[in-house]
C-alpha cells in the first residue's frame, strides 16, 4: 500500500498537477486574505479566509483536478491491469489512492500556515478558531476527494470524472437554496459551522461517514467491474 501512496504522490509532482494545485490554491487563498483585510479594515481573522468565494471556488475546481486521474487514467492507459493483477487488494488500492490525494491537499493547507504567521506578527490570532477551521477544512477535503475518486472509478474519461465531481459538489452547495432539508446534505454549510471555532461532533461524524461511504462505493464499483469486464 505504501508503494502505491509513494508512487502516486510522486506522480502528482512529476506532472504539473501537484504544483498547479498548490499554487492556484495559495493564490486564491491570498486573494481571500486580501479581501478579508479590506473588509475588516486590518483585523484579519484566519478562520474567515476559508469562507471567501475565491478559496471555496478554487477548492471546488482543484480537487477534481487531483482526483480525476486516479482510476480513469489507469484504465485508459491499461496500467489498471498491472495494479489489479498485483497481490494488493482492491480495498488497499482505493485507500492508497485516497490517502495520496489527501496528502497533496494537506501540503496545500500546510502552506496556508504562512498567513497564520503573518497574522500572529501583525495582528491578533485566535489560534483555536484557526485550528478548528483547518480541521474542518481537512474533513471537507476528504469528503470531496472521496466523491472525486468515486467519479473517477466510474468512467475512463478524466474530463467526465472531473465534471461529475464538480457538479456533485456544486449541487450540495446550492441545494439548500431550493430545498429546506437539503441543508443537511450541504458539505459547505457544514464546514461554515467549523469556522466559528467550535468542533461540531455531529458534522465531524457526517463528514467521515460520507467519506467512508464514497470509498466503499468505489471499492464496490471496482469489484463489480471485475466481473462485468
Amino acid at each position: 500500500m505504501w508503494a502505491i501512496i509513494k508512487k502516486e504522490v510522486k506522480t502528482y509532482f512529476l506532472s504539473p498537477i501537484g504544483y498547479v494545485f498548490i499554487g492556484i490554491f495559495l493564490i486564491a487563498f491570498s486573494i481571500s486574505f486580501y479581501l478579508e483585510l479590506m473588509y475588516t479594515g486590518g483585523r484579519v481573522q484566519f478562520n474567515y479566509i476559508f469562507t471567501y468565494l475565491p478559496t471555496i471556488l478554487s477548492f471546488a475546481i482543484l480537487i477534481p483536478l487531483l482526483t480525476m486521474r486516479t482510476f480513469s487514467e489507469e484504465r485508459k492507459s491499461g496500467t489498471e491491469q498491472l495494479l489489479l493483477t498485483s497481490p494488493i487488494s482492491i480495498t488497499k488500492i482505493v485507500i492508497a489512492k485516497f490517502i495520496s490525494a489527501v496528502i497533496i491537499t494537506l501540503i496545500a493547507i500546510a502552506c496556508t500556515s504562512m498567513f497564520l504567521i503573518i497574522i500572529r506578527c501583525f495582528g491578533t490570532l485566535d489560534i483555536t478558531a484557526a485550528l478548528v477551521t483547518i480541521f474542518g477544512f481537512i474533513l471537507l477535503s476528504m469528503a470531496y476527494i472521496s466523491i472525486g475518486i468515486l467519479a473517477s472509478s466510474i468512467t475512463e474519461n478524466q474530463i467526465i470524472a472531473a465534471l461529475i465531481t464538480i457538479i456533485t459538489f456544486v449541487a450540495t452547495w446550492v441545494l439548500p437554496e431550493f430545498l429546506q432539508t437539503g441543508a443537511s446534505f450541504s458539505l459547505i454549510n457544514m464546514f461554515s459551522k467549523f469556522t466559528t471555532g467550535q468542533i461540531n461532533i455531529a458534522y465531524t461524524v457526517t463528514y467521515l461517514a460520507f467519506t467512508v461511504l464514497c470509498l466503499i462505493l468505489t471499492i464496490t464499483v471496482m469489484q463489480r467491474r471485475k466481473s462485468a469486464k
Binding site: 505504501w2 508503494a3 502505491i4 509513494k6 508512487k7 506522480t11 512529476l14 506532472s15 492507459s77 491499461g78 496500467t79 489498471e80 491491469q81 498491472l82 495494479l83 489489479l84 493483477t85 498485483s86 497481490p87 494488493i88 487488494s89 471485475k226 466481473s227 469486464k229
Partner: protein, 384 residues
C-alpha cells in the same frame, strides 16, 4: 526441453477447469479446460477476438469468470486472489506502463506492488534489468523509449519478484523482425526457469517457442497438442503444385490416366500461357516421379513442380476452418427455424467477421512466412 519437462515432474501449475466468460448474451470464452505443467511453455493460439486475452485476464485475476475455476499453484484465483496473484508475472496486451516513470522506477514500483522483500528488492531489480538487457536505458523515461524497449520494460515488470508463472499477452506484436527474434530468444531463455503462457496469432512464433499449443477459436478450444503433433495431424494428404504448358488441354483428363490422383484443381492461369494445378494424393503416395513420366507423353511441358510443405499454419487453418464450417451449418439451421430478422442480421455479421478473419489470417500467414524466412536467414548469417 521436453526431457526437462519430464524430469521436473510435470507438476500441474495452472489448472483451468470448465471456465466460461459471458458478456450479456455473448459468450467470449466457452467452457474451456486445460492445464499447464511446471516448466512448460504453452502457447494460446487463435485469430483476433478468439478469447485468448480474456482467458489470460481470467488466469491473472483481472476479470472474474462467469463459471468454472482456475487454480494457480494450488491457489484458487477467485478465493485466494492475493496468494494466487503472487505466483504470476503478467505482461498485458499493449504493454501498458507508467509513461512518466523511468524504466528503473517502473520495475522498482512493480517489485513493490508484488510485495518483494525490501532487503532483496534493490538487488532483484538490478538483476532483472541485467537479464532483460535494459542497463543502457534504465534511467530514461518510459515515454521516450522505443517500442522494443517498452516491451522489454513491461516484460521486466512481469519478471520481477521471480514468479513461477509468466503470462505474456502477445509479446511480439508491433516489433520489427529483429526485435521479434530477440524477444523470442528471451522468452525461450525465461522458459528455462519459469512456466510461460503466451498468446499469439502468429503461428510460426508459437511453433518455434512453445512446447504445447492450445488453439482457441470463437471462445472454444479446438486443439491442445505439441506443435509437431499438430503438423503431423494435418499431414493426411500429399499435395503437389505443378505448373505446365498444356496447349492441347489434356491436363483435365489426367485424373483418368493416373489413378492415384484424388483431386486435380486449376489454381492459377498465368499470363504466359502456363497453368498451375494442385494435385492431391494419399499421404503415402508420392506422385512426383509419375508426373515427370506421364506428362511429357501427353505433350505437356512441365515448368515447375513442387511439393507443398505442411506446416502448423495448415493445421491451424484446417482446425479453425472445420470449426467455422460447423458453426455456419448451425447458423443455417437457426435461420431455418426462426425467421427473426435480427437473428439473420447477426449471422450475417458473424459470417462477415469470419470472412474478415480469414482474410486477416491469410495476410498474417503471408507476413509470417516472410518473417520466418527472414529470421532464418538472419540465424544462418549469425551462425556463419
Amino acid at each position: 526441453m521436453h526431457i526437462l519437462n519430464y524430469i521436473r515432474g510435470g507438476i500441474t501449475l495452472i489448472e483451468v477447469k470448465n471456465v466460461t466468460k459471458k458478456y450479456g448474451n455473448f459468450t467470449a470464452v466457452d467452457n474451456i479446460s486445460f492445464d499447464v505443467k511446471d516448466g512448460e511453455i504453452v502457447g494460446l493460439l487463435g485469430p483476433n477476438g478468439a478469447g485468448k486475452s480474456t482467458t489470460m485476464n481470467m488466469i491473472t485475476g483481472f476479470i472474474e469468470m462467469t463459471d468454472g475455476e482456475i487454480i494457480v499453484n494450488g491457489y484458487n484465483i477467485s478465493k485466494k486472489p492475493s496468494k494466487a496473484k503472487k505466483q504470476i508475472g503478467y505482461m498485458p496486451e499493449g504493454v501498458p506502463s507508467y509513461q512518466e516513470l523511468t524504466a528503473k522506477e517502473f520495475i522498482k514500483y512493480m517489485s513493490e506492488l508484488k510485495l518483494v522483500d525490501r532487503k532483496i528488492r534493490k538487488e532483484q531489480v538490478q538483476e532483472v534489468i541485467k537479464q532483460i538487457g535494459l542497463e543502457e536505458v534504465q534511467n530514461k523515461l518510459i515515454k521516450n523509449l522505443s517500442r522494443g524497449y517498452k516491451q522489454r520494460v513491461s516484460m521486466a515488470g512481469a519478471l520481477v519478484g521471480n514468479p513461477d508463472v509468466l503470462i505474456l499477452d502477445e509479446p511480439t506484436v508491433g516489433l520489427d523482425p529483429k526485435q521479434i527474434l530477440e524477444i523470442r530468444t528471451l522468452i525461450k531463455e525465461l522458459g528455462k526457469k519459469h512456466t510461460v503462457i503466451l498468446s499469439s496469432h502468429i503461428l510460426s512464433e508459437v511453433s518455434q517457442i512453445c512446447d504445447r499449443v492450445v488453439i482457441i477459436n470463437n471462445g472454444k478450444i479446438v486443439a491442445i497438442d505439441t506443435p509437431e503433433n499438430l503438423e503431423e495431424k494435418s499431414k493426411n494428404k500429399n499435395i503437389l503444385y505443378v505448373t505446365v504448358e498444356d496447349k492441347a488441354e489434356k491436363m483435365s483428363s489426367l485424373k483418368d490416366k493416373v489413378k492415384d490422383i484424388q483431386e486435380l484443381e486449376l489454381v492459377k492461369d498465368n499470363e504466359d500461357g502456363t497453368k498451375q494445378y494442385k494435385v492431391v494424393s494419399e499421404e503415402n503416395i508420392d506422385l512426383r516421379k509419375k508426373m515427370f513420366e506421364v506428362l511429357p507423353k501427353e505433350d505437356i511441358t512441365i515448368f515447375e513442380l513442387k511439393k507443398a510443405e505442411v506446416s502448423l499454419e495448415d493445421a491451424f487453418m484446417k482446425l479453425i476452418g472445420d470449426k467455422n464450417e460447423r458453426n455456419e451449418e448451425k447458423e443455417v439451421e437457426q435461420q431455418g427455424n426462426s425467421k427473426d430478422e435480427e437473428e439473420n442480421k447477426e449471422t450475417k455479421l458473424v459470417e462477415n467477421s469470419i470472412e474478415q478473419d480469414q482474410n486477416l489470417r491469410k495476410e498474417n500467414i503471408d507476413k509470417n512466412t516472410e518473417n520466418q524466412t527472414k529470421s532464418e536467414k538472419q540465424e544462418k548469417g549469425g551462425e556463419e
